[in-house]
């Protein structure tokens, strides 16, 4: 296909294919981000909360010099990493079972079972956890005979609920990658004398890594920007999303400048996983 690429007809076709999606993304999306970034350099009238179009870098200086923003940014990053690791840990055995042990109807039923909760509604599920984690909720009721107490509302609950909400986004790409792994590669590995651990390390891991990274794009960035789950089960925990959300109506330029923090984190993350080939298998 690349041999014919320089023909004018192919180039015309490529332009026709690319123009609509690129125009949409550049105009509707990058344009909006540019407007937002631009407003980060403006300021707000302290009495009316109206945006004043005076060019200033004060917002960025405030963010870099205020310790509370640094604490919130680090906490958000930590929670996003914890959620991603927890999801990877939960997804691997499930995806492995679905792809390499279950077959036929069972495999299809398991995929449906993993996909269905995506339709139940983010808010409904987060509230279900609020009810479960409450003082008289089912979690405490179940742990009481063991002499234990649930995490209640707070950072641990946020990690737990976010990991719950994004788990299907991690299972599905890993399952797909494992299913694609040809059986004869695994057999060849065994024939050549590799044990289970060696095969897992040398054959399965390289095949799963891009899929794990692709799943982590969802779990990491969705956690990084979440603010509703934090409101629902976070207790007094604040994340970047909450800080941005609380500033939107009060001080839009500051909210815009704060938005640059998760944007920078996500862009760095995407650039890193792209090098590992994760975006190709997303």
């Amino acid at each position: 296909m690349s041999a014919t690429n320089h023909e004018p007809r192919t180039r015309g076709r490529l332009a026709a294919l690319l123009a609509p999606p690129l125009l949409w993304l550049v105009l509707a999306y990058l344009g909006s981000l540019a407007v937002l970034l631009l407003s980060a350099f403006w300021t707000t009238d302290p009495f009316t909360s109206d945006v004043v179009h005076t060019w200033t870098t004060d917002n960025f200086r405030d963010i870099l010099t205020t310790p509370v923003y640094r604490t919130v940014a680090l906490r958000t990053l930590g929670i996003a990493v914890a959620v991603t690791l927890l999801d990877a840990l939960l997804a691997l055995p499930m995806a492995f079972f679905m792809a390499r042990v279950a077959a036929g109807r069972l495999r299809r039923a398991l995929l449906v079972a993993v996909l269905t909760p995506l339709w139940a509604g983010y808010l409904v599920k987060a509230y279900a956890w609020r009810v479960m984690l409450g003082e008289h909720g089912i979690v405490n009721a179940a742990l009481a005979p063991l002499g234990l107490h649930g995490p209640g509302y707070g950072t641990a609950a946020v990690v737990l609920v976010l990991a719950y909400l994004w788990l299907p986004y991690m299972i599905l790409p890993v399952q797909a990658a494992l299913e694609r792994l040809p059986a004869h590669q695994l057999e060849a590995s065994a024939d050549l004398g590799a044990g289970t651990v060696r095969t897992l390390r040398s054959v399965v891991a390289p095949a799963v890594r891009p899929a794990l990274l692709a799943g982590s794009v969802f779990t990491f960035s969705l956690s990084l920007g979440d603010y509703l789950t934090v409101q629902i089960v976070g207790g007094r925990t604040q994340l970047l999303g909450n800080v941005i959300g609380s500033q939107v109506t009060l001080d839009l330029p500051l909210a815009a400048a704060l938005s640059a923090v998760p944007v920078a984190l996500v862009v760095c993350y995407l650039a890193a996983v792209r090098r590992a080939g994760a975006l190709d298998s997303l």
Partner: protein
């Protein structure tokens, strides 16, 4: 690699435990939709059908559902068109900036919803408002379509990657015009991927809260926005659980259909 019997059993148990964890909150939602105590006291003391009858007669819920359906269909239609075009461009051609295009398509879903939301809000206010276009269903569709493109793109791209281009070339060699090749060769091959992509894009739009909050304006209420407003009210919360229970029950149909249609590709790919 030969999995021992023990390994298979352990994996099976872990999967069962994972699924139990996934479904426990959903079962609770179902139970609370008939729990007579509106504050969801555990264990429930009495059961009631009141919430179900209230939910089925709620005009607000019905309007919100209708708005969500229209927004989801609009966003899915735009995403199907743009996502397929982009997938063809990236997977059937080699060009400068190809990596940047895939990066650009992933960006709207990778960036936090609140950032996308306030960016679109600021842009709509500065660009669309002077043109006389206010916030409403149109702005919601624009916002949703932007992050739904990646879903269709991924599904179609995955399918294209597995389909030899020689199929379309053979069709051309046999004298088919480009649209004939598209109609009789390419489209049938892509149909399951398009269906799975459309379904996931619709689901994503249907459940979106944050971007919707910032792009909907006062008069447009999607189902998640309605749910958000009502979950905090003690006497409406069980009605929301009824809606959720209904959606879970109904979702099995499209999810199963998509699974059957795309089972020969990678399954419901995100």
């Amino acid at each position: 690699m030969h999995l021992t019997r023990t390994a298979r059993i352990v994996l099976g148990c872990l999967t069962a435990a994972g699924l139990a964890l996934i479904y426990l909150p959903l079962l609770l939602v179902l139970l609370n939709s008939v729990n007579a105590d509106p504050s969801f006291a555990w264990p429930p003391r009495a059961l009631t059908g009141e919430w179900w009858s209230r939910a089925l007669h709620s005009a607000g819920a019905r309007d919100a559902l209708w708005t969500s359906l229209r927004a989801g269909l609009g966003a899915t239609a735009v995403a199907l068109l743009l996502g397929s075009l982009a997938a063809f461009a990236v997977h059937r051609h080699r060009f400068f900036g190809r990596q940047t295009v895939s990066f650009l398509i992933v960006l709207p879903i990778a960036l936090p919803g609140i950032v996308t939301g306030i960016a679109l809000n600021a842009a709509f206010r500065t660009v669309l408002a002077p043109l006389g276009i206010g916030f409403g269903l149109f702005t919601v569709v624009v916002g949703h379509a932007t992050f739904c493109v990646v879903i269709v793109f991924n599904n179609v791209a995955a399918r294209l990657r597995r389909t030899a281009p020689s199929l379309a070339e053979a069709s051309a060699d046999l004298g088919a015009r480009p649209w004939q090749t598209l109609r009789y060769v390419t489209f049938p091959v892509l149909r399951p991927a398009l269906f799975a992509g459309a379904l996931l894009a619709f689901a994503l739009s249907f459940d979106e809260v944050v971007v919707t909050t910032f792009t909907a304006g006062a008069g447009t209420k999607t189902l998640p926005i309605w749910i958000y407003e009502n979950l905090a009210r003690p006497h409406q919360a069980p009605v929301v659980d009824v809606l959720a229970a209904l959606l879970i029950a109904l979702s099995v149909i499209p999810v199963y259909a998509a699974q059957r249609l795309s089972s020969d590709t990678a399954g419901g790919r995100l």
